[in-house]
Structures are given as C-alpha cells and as structure tokens.
C-alpha cells in the first residue's frame, strides 16, 4: 500500500482526496498516512461526514419548507442521496442546490408528495432572488400617465430578481402556511394549481399568487413583446385572463422596472 503521494504530488493527492470524500463506498485515497491511531478509515470517515453534513445543512437552510413537509430525518437522508448524485461543481456553496428540484422529481421515496419539486423550485427562486441584482421598481402611475394610444406599444422591463413558477399544485398556499404558521393549515378545499410570483423590490423577497394567465403575459413581456401584443396573446391563450388584475399584481409586487416605447405597434 503506497503511503506517499506519487509523482504528481500534492495536486494529484488533492484530486483523489476530493473524489474520495464524496464517493459512496468509503475508500481512503492512497497517500493518506496509515501509521496512525485510530485507523485511517475512521479518521477519513470523520472528514467525509463533516463535508456531507455541512452540505446537507446548507440544503436544509435553502429548502426549509421541503424539509418541513417531509420531516428532518427524511430530508437529511434525501439530501445525502442528492449530494452523492450531484456533488458541488463550484467552490461557492451559495450556488449549491440548483438541481435539487429536478432531483426530487426522480426521487421515488418522495413520490407521494407530487408538489414537492415545485415547492423546491419556489424556494430556490426565492433564494436566487435574494442574491439578485438590485433595481428600482417602476410605479404603475407612470403607465397610467401615458396617452392611451401609446399603451399598446410600450415595453415593460422585468426586475432581475423576478421569477414565475407555474404549478398544477397550490404551491403558494402550501409554501405560505408552512412558512408563516406554527401549525400548517390544510390547503384550500379545491386543490387547484397556483402560479407563484417571486420578487424582491427592496430588501425582502416577496411571494404572491399570480392571477390566471398572468404568467403568459410575463413570458411575452420577457421576450420584449410590447404590452398590446402581449396582452392579446395572454387573453387568446387564457379565457380568464384579466389585464387590469395582472398589471396591478405585477406593478404592486415591484416586478416591472422600466417603461420604454417600442418603434413598432
């Protein structure tokens, strides 16, 4: 058993060390001293455990509602599977967890909670929004001041921290009661889908429900489509779309930052 790092020296040892820390079966990399007590397996095991436990703790801090829904014990076990399948690709811990939602879709033991991936998406969007660039939200008064004939061609710029998560499940209700209430309330009797709007107009991340069809309006606006055409597309695609409610919600949440006149109408 070789006890010393080979020709490539430290860099090579570090590479094998990093690999062995997250690998499933415990295999102490060559080059770790073995003439010590307690055994090198136990000593390396402490190291592995610390790395995994801190990654699991970071996930729990990032996805508190997912943790509350499945329980602490289940969450930790699930996080360890995730860490094994999706080890960090970046040295920045703050970037870890982007793949958690899609992992949950494939994680059979959690299949009883089909809304879990969308809850994770909502929590990740909140987290990303928290770290996004600042921008000043535009007041709806600026839109109301425009002459009526200019409204159709105005382009609305979206806030960099804004995110929309459409779900077939009532994710805003589930997220909200599990975030604010000591005892979660049972969700509404009609277990209908909700679309979450995540914004951070100032220092706080806000989560609210988007009215039906408003996500389509946002998708159009995000492509730089002018308000008139975007509203047309949303009402064609969704019968219940109400432009006034959609605009009030978006401006009220600080989702719109700029108004600009496009060249074509």
């Amino acid at each position: 058993m070789p006890a010393q790092p080979d020709g490539n020296g430290l860099a090579d040892l570090q590479h094998r060390f990093a690999h062995a820390v997250l690998q499933a079966p415990l295999e102490v990399p060559d080059g770790i001293r073995h003439d010590v007590r307690p055994t090198r397996e136990r000593r390396f095991g402490v190291y592995r455990n610390n790395v995994k436990a801190s990654l699991a703790a970071a996930l729990a801090a990032r996805f508190p509602v997912v943790e509350r829904l499945v329980g602490e014990e289940f969450f930790t076990a699930m996080a360890l599977v995730f860490i094994e399948q999706h080890p960090p690709r970046s040295p920045v811990l703050a970037e870890y967890g982007a793949a958690f939602a899609s992992f949950l879709e494939e994680f059979d033991p959690a299949a009883d909670l089909p809304y879990l991936p969308d809850i994770a998406r909502l929590e990740w969007s909140r987290y990303v929004a928290f770290h996004s660039a600042d921008a000043s939200a535009a007041d709806i008064g600026r839109l109301a001041e425009l002459p009526p004939e200019a409204l159709g061609s105005v382009r609305l710029g979206l806030h960099p921290a804004m995110a929309v998560i459409a779900s077939p499940w009532p994710i805003v209700s589930v997220w909200s009661t599990n975030t604010h209430d000591a005892t979660p309330e049972a969700p509404a009797a009609d277990w209908t889908g909700e679309t979450a709007l995540v914004t951070r107009p100032h220092l706080d991340v806000l989560v609210q429900r988007l009215p039906p069809g408003a996500d389509l309006l946002v998708a159009e606006l995000a492509q730089g489509i002018a308000l008139g055409a975007a509203a047309d597309a949303a009402s064609r695609a969704h019968d219940g779309f109400d432009l006034a409610t959609a605009l009030a919600t978006l401006f009220g949440a600080g989702a719109i930052t700029t108004l600009s006149q496009g060249s074509s109408s």
Partner: protein, 96 residues
C-alpha cells in the same frame, strides 16, 4: 397593428390597475400578516423589538419573547408553543 377597441380596452385596464394598486402598493405581500412575538424558532425570526438580536434570522433562542415573525392575521394569539422547560404559552402581538 392596434385597433381602436384594443386601445380603449388597454387604457381601461391600465386605469383599473392603477386604482387597484393605490393603497395596496405600500402593504404588498405582508398585508394579511401580523407581527407575532415569542413563536419563532432560533434563526427563523423576521425581526425583533429590541436588544436580543439585530434582525431577520438572527434570534439565538427558540421562541425568543422579543423576536417576532409574520403570521397570518388573527392566528398569532391562537399559536401555542412548548418551551424548553415543558411549559406552554401563546404568541402575543406585543413583545413579552
């Protein structure tokens, strides 16, 4: 191209939206929430009245009586927490 009807409809929608937003703007998402003291777990508070911690997410003890978090309006006084010594108490709308 935008026809006359669409322009009128747009103007009406924008005016209605501006009306809906006035007043609602300042309150935004926390409108249906109230500050509830003494119910937040360590590190899970939204803020605090004085002293014990600086603000959001910084309380050091479970159910710190001076730390508050937003809860659904009307639910604060109904919230019961079990303290470390096994005693139970309810949340309050003012710091304890």
């Amino acid at each position: 191209m935008i026809n006359r009807t669409t322009t009128v409809a747009l103007a009406a929608a924008v005016a209605a939206a501006a009306l809906m937003s006035s007043g609602a703007n300042a309150q935004t998402a926390n409108a249906d929430k109230e500050k509830c003291y003494g119910v937040s777990m360590a590190g899970k508070n939204d803020c605090a009245a004085t002293g014990s911690n600086s603000c959001a997410g910084t309380s050091k003890a479970d159910y710190d009586a001076k730390a508050w978090k937003y809860v659904a309006k009307g639910s604060c006084a109904k919230m019961e927490v079990t303290l470390k010594d096994g005693k139970k108490r309810m949340g309050t709308l003012a710091p304890m």
